[in-house]
């Protein structure tokens, strides 16, 4: 299991109810279910992934976060997870609000557009950055609203969203993000993992 999922699972308490939005093939859900006795549900856009999840015994609904989150009652989960998909929505702010309506806490991870490789790519090559965490070209990327760790940090302050935990991930290395080191973490991290609450 990838490091990002390990960090996320450490943020989740045992015996809780979790909704994984964009749950992919269900790797994280299965882990949470088996190792932490978590009651999991998933929302996933790809039929192939829904099939994979079903054969793992996971309850996953085929759907799109922007259209289908409304069907979940308020505070019906302890946690909701959104892994690396916030940037692909038409209206990320609305999705965040919906996540924080559905669950008490949300765990949001974002590929960091402020990472130095991305900055250097744009600065030196003058073309839209293509990296390991951002593998698509500008014309076929699903990403509509790229942001940096600092952008997300500022967004939470502005919208009065509590940042419970902010973790920077660079390769296998993790570190805590705070106001004091935000500029350096924004430069050195490939991924940001945030535990947020309204």
């Amino acid at each position: 299991m990838k490091k990002e999922f390990k960090i996320i699972s450490e943020l989740i308490e045992n015996n809780t109810r979790v909704l994984d939005v964009g749950c992919g093939d269900g790797t994280l859900m299965k882990y949470l279910k088996d190792k932490k006795n978590v009651d999991t549900r998933g929302l996933e856009i790809s039929k192939k992934n829904v099939q994979d999840c079903t054969s793992k015994g996971l309850s996953v609904i085929e759907g799109n976060a922007e259209k289908d989150l409304h069907q979940f009652p308020s505070l019906s989960f302890d946690y909701v997870i959104l892994s690396q998909t916030l940037q692909a929505f038409y209206n990320p702010e609305k999705v965040i609000n919906d996540l924080l309506r559905v669950a008490n806490k949300a765990i949001v991870t974002i590929p960091n557009f402020g990472h130095w490789k991305v900055r250097i790519h744009l600065l030196l090559k003058g073309t839209m950055p293509v990296t390991e965490t951002l593998p698509n070209e500008w014309y076929n990327t699903p990403n509509l609203h790229m942001c940096t760790i600092k952008d997300f940090f500022n967004f939470c302050f502005k919208k009065k969203i509590e940042l419970y935990k902010s973790i920077a991930l660079n390769g296998e290395k993790t570190s805590t993000i705070n106001i004091g080191n935000i500029n350096i973490k924004n430069l050195s991290s490939e991924l940001g993992v945030f535990l947020i609450k309204k």
Binding site: K47, V50, Q51, Q71
Partner: protein, 369 residues
């Protein structure tokens, strides 16, 4: 029709109060089973048939000598694997394959029941079928499943008996029959009732049945089970055994010939009065209304794990209506998965060889057994 005497039946002695207010008792329920019930009795799957189906799910239907209606899905090594599971299917009350219905003989008068048969509902069908669990001494089913009206029965079953099945797979169905569904059923009923041989339902001793009306009803309904694309792919404007149009009302087009064949084949195995009663039961189905206009209430006491399946080209019970069930289940905090299968084959997809559909059913059952 022949050899109906050999159909397996139980006689239900316990009175059943129907939604219409009448009570029935000592009535027959015809059923068939596939596979073997294990010692723990935890491998039973109750399959519900649709409007034109019967208890002969798989193998060869002994009455029609044709393949069972769900042969693609049910059988040894199939999606619903009868090497592993014990499959039970019961002919619904109101049906015409051995269960109590309008073509039954009333022992008091020795005449066919006809339109003296009470108007029944999906709820009545389920309450009657529940007796099979007692008959087989099954405390809890592993699963209940069915498509179309079979799916409606799945929903009603869980609503009535919240913890009598571990899992449930409603397929291509709805929680509430729409105006369009009712309209299409009414078209079929009017075709039957407009046939003078229908004779207000008393046609059994007249020597002639409302076959034309029933055939037209079936033709109209059959169109609704297909999609525009499947009709286009299969028939297009191809002509039937001729090179040119005949300038007549013969079946010039293959689609016409096909529909006529579907209509004629249907009357050999189905009773016109049963068609009226079962379509009525479907039209009356409104689980949302049954539960004070909140469908979630139907499932609030259930721990059953649901897996709901719809098809992209099904315009009779479209994905949107299936999703309403998903939403209601979510609102009730129930355990639910959902997938929309890509298929051009319309509502009939659940009866056909649609690999993604069949593998979904198989994966769900195996992962939860």
């Amino acid at each position: 029709m022949n050899t109906k005497e050999n159909i397996k039946k139980i006689i239900v002695k316990k009175p059943l109060k129907l939604d219409c207010g009448k009570t029935i008792e000592n009535y027959p329920l015809a059923y068939e089973t596939y596979g073997t019930l294990n010692k723990k009795k935890d491998n039973a799957i109750l399959v519900f048939h649709a409007l034109s189906g019967d208890q002969f799910v798989s193998g060869t239907n002994p009455i029609t000598n044709k393949s069972g209606w769900w042969s693609y899905a049910v059988g040894p090594d199939k999606a619903i694997d009868t090497n592993k599971f014990f499959v039970i299917c019961v002919n619904v009350i109101g049906g015409c394959m051995g269960s109590y219905g309008p073509s039954s003989i009333d022992p008091k008068t020795n005449k066919t029941v006809g339109t003296n048969f009470p108007v029944i509902t999906i709820n009545d069908m389920i309450n009657a079928q529940y007796n099979l669990l007692k008959f087989f001494e099954i405390d809890k089913l592993f699963s209940v499943t069915g498509g179309s009206m079979g799916g409606m029965q799945v929903l009603q079953f869980v609503a009535n008996f919240p913890n009598k099945t571990k899992t449930a797979i409603p397929i291509a169905c709805t929680a509430s029959h729409s105006a369009q569904n009712i309209a299409l059923n009414e078209l079929g009923r009017q075709a039957i009732m407009a046939d003078k041989n229908w004779n207000n339902g008393n046609y059994f001793n007249t020597g002639s049945s409302p076959n034309n009306g029933l055939a037209v009803a079936r033709m109209a309904a059959h169109i609704t089970y297909l999609s525009k694309k499947s009709l286009e792919d299969k028939f297009g404007r191809k002509l039937q055994e001729r090179d040119n149009l005949k300038f007549s009302f013969d079946a010039d087009f293959q689609i016409e010939s096909y529909l006529r064949h579907q209509g004629n084949a249907f009357v050999d195995r189905f009773d016109a009065n049963s068609y009226l009663y079962i379509t009525r039961a479907m039209d009356y189905f409104d689980l949302t209304k049954q539960y004070n206009k909140n469908l979630s209430n139907a499932f609030k006491d259930s721990k059953t794990k649901f897996f709901i399946i719809s098809f992209t080209s099904d315009w009779l019970y479209p994905t949107s209506e299936n999703k309403e069930i998903v939403i209601a289940l979510n609102a009730a905090g129930a355990d639910v998965g959902f997938i929309e299968i890509t298929s051009d084959k319309g509502h009939d997809s659940f009866l056909l060889d649609v690999p993604d559909f069949l593998s979904s059913v198989r994966n769900f059952l195996e992962a939860n057994y």
